[in-house]
C-alpha cells in the first residue's frame, strides 16, 4: 500500500474551480471557458503524470483514516488509465467548446462541464461504494443539465428522458448498496470485496441485481438504455461527445468494478458470488445491446442519431469484452473502451463543426463532403474505420482481442460473439455507406471554411487513432495492467487497498 494523497487534487481542483467559476464569470463570460480549459488541462497533465510515471497502485486516504475505516480513493491501473482518458477527452472537448459555446449561458455551462469531469473522475477513482453513488449523481445531474443546454427543444426532451431513467437507476443502485451494507456493515469496496462470501446468497443476489440494473443505465446496456438515442441526439454535439467519451466510460467502469471486483470470484474466468452469475447476465444484456443498437442504426438517416445508436452498440461491445472475464477479454474491453471514447468523441466533434458550418445532420447532406472539407471527411472516415475494427486503426486490436477472448472461452460465448460479429457487419454497412457518400463527387455546394480551434482536438484524436492502430502498445500496456487488476480481485485490488485484510 502506498499512499499518494496528492491525487485527491484530481477531484478537488475541478470541483473548487467549478464553484468559483461564477466569480470569473463576473469578469468575463469568455474567461470561464479558459478557466475550464486550464483546470482540465491540470487534470490531464496530472493524471497522465500518474499514468506514465507509474504512480499506481496507490491510495488516497482522507484525514489519515486508513481504509477500511476512512474513505479512500484507489488509483490502480484501471483508474489511472481511465482518469487519464476522461481528463484528456475533457481537455479536448474543452478546446472544442472554446469555439462552440459562444452564446447563451457560458458561465453555467463551464460550471457544469467541470462538475461533469470531476464527477466522472471521482467515479473512476473512488474506493467507496457510497461515494460512487455521490459521484454518479454529480455526473448525472451535471449531464442532465448539459444535455438540456442549447437552443433546440429536442435537447430538453432528451435531457428529461435521461433524468427519469437515470433517477430510477440511481435509486436501484442505492437500494442495492443499502442491502449490502445491512449484510456487511461497511461501504469500502475493498472490504466488501474481501468479505462478500460472508453474506446471505439470496440477499446478495437481490442486491446485485439492483446494483447491476442501476449501473446498466449509465453503462447504456439494454433494456436500461432507452434514454440514449434521444439524449445524444438532443444534446449539442460537444455534450454528446462528452456523454459518449466521458460519461459512458465512468458508467462502464462502475458496472464492472462492482460486478468483477465486488461480486467476482478470483479465477481464470471471473464469475460472481450469489445465486446469479452477474458476468453472464451482463454478457447477455451487452449482446442484446450490440445487436439492437446496430440494427436500430442500420436504417437511420440522421447521422447524429446513427452515432447515438452506434455509441450504444459500442458500449455493448465493451461490456461483452469485459464480461468474458478472462484477462484477454478484459484487455480487449478496456482497449475498446479507449478506442470508442476517442473515435466517438471525434465523430461528434466533427458533426458539431459540420452542423455549425451549415451542413445538415442527414446522411444526404454528407454527399461530396470530401470535396468540401477533405480534412473533416478524412477524420470521420478514420473514426468510422476504427469503429469497424479495420487494421491500422485502433479498433482493430480491441476487436481482435475481444473475439479472441470469447472464442478462447468457448461454450455459449461462441454464440454471443457470432451475434456480435453479425451486428458488426451491419455496422460496417451503415458506416461505409456514410464514407461512400462522403467520397462521392456530386456535391454542388462550395468548400467549407473549417475554423482552426475545433480542428485541433479533431486532429489530435484522428492522429491518436492511427497511432494506436500502428503501435497498439500505447494503450495495450496499460490495458493489460488493467486487465490484470480486474481479473485478480485480491492481488489486484483488495490487498493494495487493505494489505492487512485476511484472505477469505
Amino acid at each position: 500500500m502506498s499512499i499518494f494523497n496528492n491525487a485527491a487534487l484530481l477531484i478537488g481542483v475541478p470541483l473548487l474551480f467549478a464553484f468559483s467559476i461564477p466569480l470569473f464569470g463576473l469578469i468575463s463570460k469568455q474567461l470561464t471557458k479558459w478557466v475550464t480549459l486550464l483546470t482540465i488541462s491540470f487534470n490531464a497533465t496530472f493524471s497522465l503524470y500518474i499514468l506514465l510515471a507509474h504512480k499506481y497502485p496507490s491510495i488516497v486516504v482522507m484525514g489519515n483514516w486508513l481504509p477500511p475505516f476512512g474513505e479512500n480513493l484507489y488509483i490502480g491501473p484501471v483508474a489511472a488509465l481511465l482518469v487519464s482518458l476522461i481528463s484528456v477527452m475533457g481537455l479536448l472537448i474543452a478546446i472544442y467548446n472554446l469555439w462552440s459555446i459562444k452564446k447563451g449561458d457560458v458561465t453555467r455551462f463551464s460550471v457544469l462541464f467541470l462538475m461533469f469531469t470531476a464527477g466522472a473522475s471521482g467515479m473512476v477513482l473512488t474506493g467507496d461504494i457510497f461515494n460512487l453513488f455521490i459521484f454518479m449523481e454529480i455526473t448525472g445531474i451535471s449531464s442532465f443539465a448539459l444535455a438540456a443546454y442549447g437552443p433546440e427543444k429536442r435537447a430538453l426532451g432528451g435531457a428529461f428522458k435521461f433524468l427519469v431513467v437515470s433517477s430510477i437507476g440511481s435509486t436501484l443502485y442505492l437500494l442495492g448498496v443499502t442491502l449490502i451494507y445491512t449484510q456487511l456493515g461497511t461501504l469500502n469496496i475493498a472490504e466488501i470485496a474481501a468479505r462478500i462470501n460472508q453474506t446471505t446468497p439470496g440477499l446478495l443476489t437481490f442486491a446485485g441485481v439492483l446494483i447491476v440494473s442501476g449501473l446498466a443505465v449509465e453503462a447504456e446496456l439494454f433494456p436500461f438504455n432507452g434514454w440514449v438515442p434521444d439524449t445524444y441526439t438532443g444534446a449539442i454535439n460537444g455534450v454528446s461527445a462528452a456523454l459518449s467519451g466521458i460519461g459512458a466510460v465512468s458508467g462502464v467502469y462502475a458496472l464492472f468494478r462492482i460486478a468483477m471486483t465486488v461480486f467476482g470470484k478470483d479465477g481464470t474466468y471471473v464469475s460472481s458470488y450469489g445465486n446469479l452469475n452477474f458476468m453472464a447476465v451482463i454478457a447477455v444484456l451487452a449482446t442484446a445491446t450490440v445487436v439492437i443498437g446496430e440494427l436500430s442504426a442500420l436504417t437511420q438517416k440522421n447521422v447524429k442519431k446513427m452515432l447515438a445508436y452506434s455509441s450504444m452498440a459500442q458500449m455493448g461491445l465493451v461490456a461483452v469484452g469485459l464480461s468474458i472475464g478472462n484477462e484477454l477479454g478484459v484487455y480487449g474491453g478496456i482497449f475498446q473502451l479507449v478506442n470508442h471514447s476517442i473515435a466517438k468523441t471525434m465523430m461528434f466533434l466533427i458533426l458539431g463543426v459540420l452542423v455549425a458550418s451549415g451542413v445538415g445532420e442527414n446522411i444526404d447532406d454528407f454527399r461530396g463532403l470530401w470535396k468540401r472539407s477533405p480534412f473533416l471527411s478524412l477524420a470521420f472516415s478514420v473514426g468510422a474505420f476504427s469503429m469497424l475494427g479495420f487494421p491500422l486503426f485502433g479498433g482493430f486490436w480491441s476487436k481482435f482481442a475481444i473475439v479472441g477472448a470469447s472464442i478462447q472461452r468457448g461454450g455459449w460465448y461462441d454464440f454471443i460473439i457470432g451475434l456480435v460479429l453479425f451486428a458488426s457487419i451491419v455496422e460496417a454497412f451503415y458506416y461505409l455507406r456514410i464514407v461512400g457518400y462522403m467520397f462521392s463527387s456530386d456535391s454542388k455546394f462550395p468548400k467549407l471554411k473549417t475554423p482552426w480551434t475545433p480542428t485541433i482536438p479533431i486532429f489530435i484524436l484522428a492522429v491518436s487513432i492511427i497511432a494506436i492502430g500502428v503501435f497498439p502498445q500505447i494503450v495495450g500496456t496499460f490495458s493489460a495492467q488493467a486487465a490484470s487488476e480486474f481479473t485478480h480481485k485480491m492481488s489486484g485490488y483488495v490487498l493494495n487497498v487493505i494489505p492487512t485484510i485476511a484472505a477469505h
Binding site: 439492437i292 461505409l432 462521392s440 493489460a480
Partner: protein, 621 residues
C-alpha cells in the same frame, strides 16, 4: 538478419503515408506509388526461399510472436504480384482514373505480408488491411452511385469473410495455443485422421474467407459489381492479383487433404476435394454463361475472371501433382492475360469514355497497339497456343481426366469454348466493325501506355512459348507441398501425362505458315482499301435511309440464340439470397428501431421490466 522481410511490409507502408500526404498532386502520388513498387521489387530480388524472420508484438499483455517465412509458393506469388503491380503503376502514371495510389500501396504492404507471414495474427491483419484498402479503392469508380453500391456489397461480403477467418484462427489458437500457421497446419494434419469433422469445420471457416476473396460460387456475387465499377486502373489489380489471395490461402490448407484417410472417397478423391472440384466447375460454367450477355465490358471480363478462378479451384482441389501444377500455372497465366486485358480496357475506356459494348466499335483503326494487345490477350484467354493461356488449360484437362472426372471435364471444355464466344464478342464490339463518328478524334494511348502494352504483349508470347520459366518454379512449389513435381523437359515444353506439347515448335509452325500466307497474299493480285461504309448491301445505299455507323454496328443481342438456350439458368439468382438476407436485416432493423419509442415512461418501463426479469432470474437461480 533477414530483416528485409520486414521491409517488404514497411516500405509500402511508408510509401503509402507519403503518397497520402501528397494526395492532391496526382502525378506525384502515382510516381511515389510506382517507385515504391519498384523498390519493393528490388527488395524481393534480395529475398530467397528459406528466409525467416521473427519479432515479438507486445499485445494482449503478452508477447505474440510474429514470424515470416519465405516458401517457394510465397516467393512465386511475390514475384508475379509485384512485377505486375510495377507494370500497372507505371501505366497509371499517365492515367486519369480516380485510383488512389496510397491505397494501392497499402494493398501492396498487405500483399507482401500475406505471402510471407507464418503467423495468423499477421495474416489476419494483412488480410483485413487488404480488404478495407480495396473496398475504399473500389469507391472511386467512374459511376459513383454504382461504385458505391458495389463497394458496399463487396465490403459486406469481405468483412463477413474476415469474420469467418476470425473464428477459424481463434479456434485453432484455442486448440493449439499457437498462432503459427505452419504448426497449426501440422496439428490439423495430425488430427485429421482422428477427428475429420472437426478439421473440416475449422478449415471450412477459412475456406469461406478464401472463396469470398477469390469470388468462387456461391460467393461470386460481388465480383462483377466490384470489378465493373472500380476505377479502371484498379480493376486490373483486383482481377489479376487480388483474386489470387484466395487461391494462395486454399493452397496453404489443401495439403491437409492428403492426410484425410478416414473420409470416403469419390473417383479416388476425398469427397471434400470432389465437392470443391465441382464448385470450381460450377464457377467456371457460371462465369462463362453469364459473361455472354453483358453489355458492360468490365462486367463481361469480371465474369471471365470468375470463370478462370473456377478453373484454378477445380485444378488445385484435385491436389494431384498435375492438378496443383496446372492450378498455379493457370493462376499465373490468368494474372498475365487478364491483367493485360483489363489494362487495355482501361486504355479504351479512358479514350472512348464509355464501357458499354454497344456504344463502341471499330476502334482498331484508332488504337492499333491496344488492339494488338487485346487480340493477344483474348487469344491467351481462349487458350490458343502458342500464347500463354494454353498450357495451363491443357494441363487442367489432363489432371481432371486422370481422375476420370469426365463430366467435370466436359463442362470445363464447355466453359472454355464459351470463353471464346464472349471474348470474341468483346473483341468485335470494341475494336471491329463500324467506327462511330463520335470516336473520330480518339487517339492511341500515350507513350507510357504503349510501352506497357508492348511489354505485356511480349510477356504473353514469351511465357507462351517458354513455359519452362514458370513451370520450374511451380515444380518447386509442388514439391514443397509434398507432391511429385512434373518433369520439365526444357523451357519450351509443357509436359503432360498423356502427351507433351512443344510450344516453340507450335510457334515456328505458326510463324512459317504465316510467312507462306503473307507470301501468297503479296504475290497474288492487288487489292485496294475502301472506307468502312463501302459494304456489300445487295445494291442498296444504306445512307439513303439514314444509316449511321452506330446503327450499322452489330453489337446488341450478340448471342441471342444462346440467350434462349440458357433462359432457364437466369431464373436462378444466387444474388437474390444475399440481397434477401440484406433486406431481411434491414426490415428487422426498422422493426427493432421501434423499441426506442421516445417516451420516458416506456423507457422507465423497460428498465423496470428488465429489473423484474433479473430478479426472477435470481430467484429461480
Amino acid at each position: 538478419m533477414n530483416s528485409n522481410l520486414i521491409w517488404l511490409v514497411f516500405t509500402p507502408l511508408i510509401g503509402s503515408a507519403i503518397a497520402a500526404i501528397l494526395y492532391n498532386y496526382k502525378f506525384l502520388d502515382r510516381l511515389i506509388t510506382f517507385s515504391t513498387f519498384a523498390i519493393t521489387l528490388f527488395l524481393v530480388f534480395g529475398t530467397h526461399v528459406g528466409q525467416t524472420y521473427s519479432m515479438n508484438l507486445n499485445f494482449m499483455g503478452r508477447m505474440i510472436p510474429l514470424s515470416w517465412n519465405v516458401t517457394h509458393l510465397s516467393i512465386f506469388m511475390l514475384y508475379i504480384s509485384i512485377v505486375f503491380g510495377t507494370i500497372l503503376t507505371f501505366y497509371s502514371l499517365m492515367d486519369r482514373s480516380r485510383m488512389k495510389g496510397f491505397l494501392l500501396l497499402l494493398i501492396l504492404a498487405a500483399n507482401n505480408w500475406i505471402f510471407t507471414t507464418n503467423d495468423m495474427v499477421g495474416f489476419f491483419f494483412a488480410w483485413e488491411l487488404m480488404g478495407w484498402a480495396s473496398i475504399v479503392s473500389v469507391l472511386g469508380g467512374r459511376k459513383e452511385r454504382k461504385s458505391r453500391h458495389a463497394a458496399l456489397y463487396y465490403a459486406l461480403m469481405s468483412i463477413g469473410g474476415s469474420y469467418s477467418m476470425f473464428f477459424g484462427l481463434f479456434t485453432l489458437w484455442r486448440l493449439t495455443g499457437s498462432f503459427s500457421i505452419s504448426s497449426n497446419l501440422a496439428y490439423l494434419s495430425s488430427i485429421v485422421g482422428v477427428h475429420p469433422w472437426w478439421v473440416l469445420g475449422i478449415v471450412s471457416l477459412f475456406f469461406v474467407t478464401f472463396m469470398i476473396k477469390a469470388g468462387i460460387f456461391p460467393f461470386h456475387t460481388w465480383v462483377p459489381m466490384a470489378y465493373a465499377y472500380a476505377p479502371d486502373t484498379f480493376t486490373p489489380f483486383l482481377s489479376a492479383v487480388m483474386s489470387k489471395y484466395g487461391i494462395y490461402g486454399m493452397l496453404l490448407f489443401l495439403p491437409i487433404s492428403l492426410m484425410e484417410k478416414g473420409m470416403p472417397t469419390v473417383f479416388g478423391l476425398p469427397w471434400v476435394n470432389y465437392i470443391f472440384v465441382w464448385i470450381g466447375v460450377i464457377t467456371a460454367v457460371l462465369g462463362t454463361v453469364l459473361a455472354f450477355f453483358q453489355d458492360d465490358v468490365k462486367k463481361l471480363f469480371a465474369y471471365s475472371s470468375l470463370s478462370n478462378l473456377g478453373y484454378i479451384v477445380a485444378a488445385i482441389s484435385l491436389f494431384t501433382s498435375v492438378g496443383v501444377t496446372a492450378g498455379i500455372y493457370h493462376a499465373f497465366n490468368h494474372l498475365l492475360f487478364k491483367g493485360a486485358l483489363f489494362i487495355t480496357l482501361a486504355a479504351v475506356i479512358s479514350r472512348s469514355g464509355t464501357s458499354k459494348l454497344s456504344e463502341m466499335g471499330g476502334l482498331w483503326k484508332k488504337m492499333p497497339v491496344t488492339f494488338f494487345t487485346f487480340f493477344i490477350g483474348i487469344a491467351s484467354a481462349a487458350g490458343i497456343p502458342p500464347f500463354n493461356g494454353f498450357g495451363s488449360k491443357w494441363l487442367i484437362y489432363q489432371s481432371m481426366i486422370k481422375q476420370h472426372l469426365l463430366f467435370a471435364t466436359i463442362l470445363l471444355f464447355l466453359a472454355s469454348t464459351g470463353a471464346f464466344l464472349y471474348l470474341f464478342k468483346a473483341f468485335h464490339s470494341i475494336f471491329l466493325g463500324q467506327l462511330s463518328h463520335n470516336y473520330d478524334n480518339v487517339k492511341e494511348v500515350p507513350v507510357i501506355g504503349q510501352i506497357v502494352e508492348y511489354l505485356l504483349m511480349f510477356a504473353m508470347i514469351f511465357f507462351g512459348i517458354q513455359p519452362g520459366y514458370i513451370l520450374r518454379p511451380v515444380g518447386l512449389i509442388v514439391k514443397s507441398v509434398g507432391l511429385n513435381p512434373l518433369a520439365v523437359m526444357g523451357n519450351g515444353y509443357v509436359t503432360g501425362m498423356f502427351s507433351n506439347v512443344d510450344m516453340p515448335l507450335i510457334g515456328w509452325s505458326l510463324a512459317i505458315s504465316f510467312v507462306f500466307g503473307f507470301i501468297l497474299f503479296f504475290i497474288s493480285a492487288k487489292h485496294k482499301y475502301v472506307s468502312q461504309e463501302d459494304n456489300y448491301t445487295a445494291g442498296q445505299i444504306p445512307q439513303d435511309w439514314g444509316l449511321t455507323p452506330e446503327t450499322y454496328q452489330f453489337s446488341w443481342k450478340f448471342y441471342e440464340p444462346m440467350e434462349k438456350l440458357f433462359a432457364p439458368f437466369y431464373r436462378i439468382k444466387i444474388d437474390g439470397f444475399f440481397r434477401g438476407l440484406g433486406d431481411w436485416t434491414r426490415i428487422t432493423g426498422s422493426a427493432v428501431k421501434q423499441v426506442f419509442v421516445g417516451n420516458a415512461q416506456i423507457y422507465t418501463l423497460f428498465a423496470v421490466v428488465g429489473l423484474i426479469i433479473l430478479v426472477i432470474a435470481g430467484w429461480v437461480a
